[in-house]
Symmetry: C2
């Protein structure tokens, strides 16, 4: 009982938002989209699908291919609504970073103002982290050995880099100061380049 999967749930709804899929194919795509960060196992995927189905967010349909039976899942109207709700919510603490990554991966399904809110929320969270980390650094003053200090320095640098990345994304998003249309045709173009 209770809520099976929050981050996994979001990812599943996000993929089904595009097209209906059966479990196995869903699993493969999940590992493609989320790729580097996280490997989703079928041991968590199938219970998650069963749960989403119980809650009425997805519908099942039996495809009999020869003697093999596979179940194709599709997003319901309720499910689409729930997807938007989950996308608008902040990270549920604990899996903070991964939650943002999943949200970002499905940015093309939501409106621009929600995208901006997520990006700015993320930036605020990272800046808070930076403040705390720098405050802690001043408070300790050489109580840490060289390795611990280097770890913190590297962490700080990585976070600063991510904030700059977010700044570019936010700027780029503001550049196209228009549509709240989800999946707007050709809407995304001014992505920060790799140069």
């Amino acid at each position: 009982m209770s809520r099976r999967g929050a981050i996994l749930e979001l990812a599943v709804l996000g993929l089904l938002h595009e097209q209906p899929l059966h479990g196995y194919e869903l699993g493969k795509r999940l590992n493609g989209v989320l790729g580097a960060f996280r490997v989703v196992s079928y041991g968590s995927l199938y219970p998650c699908l069963a749960n989403l189905s119980t809650k009425g967010f997805i519908s099942q349909e039996r495809d009999d291919v020869g003697r093999k039976t596979r179940i194709t899942y599709a997003l319901t109207t309720d499910g689409a609504q729930h997807f938007l709700t989950l996308m608008s919510q902040a990270a549920p603490s604990g899996s903070a970073d991964e939650h943002f990554d999943v949200q970002f991966a499905f940015f093309s399904r939501i409106s621009q103002d929600v995208r901006l809110r997520i990006l700015e929320g993320r930036r605020t969270k990272l800046e808070q982290r930076l403040d705390e980390s720098r405050a802690a650094a001043r408070a300790r003053r050489a109580r840490f050995d060289a390795y611990t200090a280097e770890l913190h320095r590297h962490g700080l640098e990585s976070t600063e880099r991510e904030v700059r990345w977010l700044n570019e994304l936010i700027h780029s998003e503001r550049g196209q100061h228009s549509g709240s249309h989800p999946s707007s045709p050709d809407g995304i173009s001014a992505m920060p380049g790799n140069s």
Copy 2:
């Protein structure tokens, strides 16, 4: 029952390796050392301490300060041995990145050859991740929208950056081609700079 905490366990043993501490102080230092990555809650810390005590890795001693009773924990010989075992082990999959961070934070407690093995193991893992990610990128060819693609590009870049960081650390570690002594006096110096 069973194994309460693997990453938390390692962090606790690592801190107690330096000096005995009571639970509350341990918690605060944990949040200092691990800081940015993870906030340890007392709801997991105290059960972890009880478990380590049961297994004989740490010893308890009651300090009666006024009417307040606090329990100071100290590393036993078995505990020190267990700490070295945990430090030598690879990340237990799932919490891959965090495990490395904790290991790194306690590098000064272990010998140089173990440090090098950990750093090289981490680099190998990241390089595998890069290979898979790049292979997946070639396999898909524009099946991803701009946001998903940008997420992958950014992930790749971050990982590449981390590999370069590891290379510097490994090089620096090889520079001082000597002691297997844990806590060697003044042993760490050639840390890569921030320039």
